[in-house]
């Protein structure tokens, strides 16, 4: 009798697991739309993904990187005192905020040193690190 209770509830368990997984994967779509629109708001002057691949912008960003970031993140950006910056799994807006705000006790703020266009160049350079 208990065995039939177990198998009967196995169906509910499979259903709950499948629905939860499917629900989360489906929820990822509106979440992506929602967060991307928020990121666009945050990155008022941040360039689009297309313009981020501009060689001039990347070159400019690499100069800023060498001036302000390389001593902690390494000349090749593979990390030193600070972390490796290759293949950053975060949005452009997030990178921009991190550069501007810094990380308390770990990384200084660059909000006064670099304007939005310069930060965008840095983001372009960091995005080119793959």
């Amino acid at each position: 009798m208990n065995f039939s209770l177990e198998t009967k509830n196995l169906k509910w368990a499979l259903l709950a697991g499948s629905i939860s997984l499917g629900g989360m994967l489906l929820a990822a779509v509106p979440i992506k739309m929602l967060t991307d629109s928020g990121a666009n708001q945050a990155a008022v002057s941040a360039p689009s993904s297309e313009s981020l691949s501009s060689p001039q912008l990347i070159e400019r960003g690499s100069q800023f990187f060498a001036m302000s970031c390389a001593h902690c993140h390494g000349d090749d950006a593979h990390g030193d005192e600070g972390p490796d910056l290759y293949n950053l799994p975060v949005s452009n807006a997030y990178i921009k905020v991190m550069i501007k705000r810094g990380v308390k006790g770990e990384m200084p703020t660059f909000a006064k040193k670099y304007n939005d266009d310069q930060v965008a160049a840095l983001v372009a350079y960091l995005r080119s690190l793959r």
Binding site: N2, F3, L5, E6, T7, N9, L10, W12, A13, L14, A16, G17, S18, S20, L21, M24, L25, A27, A28, V29, P30, I31, K32, M33, T35, D36, G38, A39, Q41, A42, G79, P83, D84, N87, L88, P89, V90, S91, A93, Y94, V97, R101
Partner: protein
């Protein structure tokens, strides 16, 4: 209204440790309860603790997964460490919810054979959660 982009990483960090720890503790308690002889006084207590732990663990996965999805802008796979993290997260999440529902419905009316299968699933889930945690840590340290 603009949401602070550091909110989601903070919420993910705050919520993600609960289901990992609860799944592992559930596996430990249910495993001990399963292998202890019937005459042992604590056998039922261990199963009762495991019962609540797996249910709470299953419930705890939802805020953890949702905050993770918001943090990664809806990325369900990604690449590098994030991909490995997700390869552990999705089966772990599915198993944890499924096992939590099964355990909640079956209660203490289980056969030894059925519970043995549940226990194997539970240990597998705990392993997957540990793997997800490991790659989550790699993401944090190397990004």
């Amino acid at each position: 209204m603009l949401i602070d982009p550091t909110l989601w990483p903070k919420l993910h960090g705050a919520s993600v440790h609960f289901p990992v720890a609860l799944a592992m503790a559930a596996a430990l308690f249910e495993g001990l309860g399963f292998f202890l002889p019937n005459s042992t006084r604590h056998k039922q207590n261990l199963h009762l603790a495991g019962y609540y732990l797996i249910i709470l663990g299953a419930l705890g996965t939802f805020p953890a997964v949702l905050s993770g999805l918001f943090m990664t802008h809806g990325a369900t796979m990604g690449h590098g460490a994030l991909l490995f993290h997700h390869l552990f997260v999705w089966p772990g999440f599915t198993l944890l919810v499924g096992l939590g529902v099964w355990r909640a419905l079956v209660g203490d009316k289980f056969t030894r054979w059925g519970f043995g299968v549940y226990l194997i699933g539970l240990f597998l889930t705990a392993g997957l959660m540990a793997g997800a945690g490991y790659w989550g840590g790699e993401l944090l340290l190397n990004s």
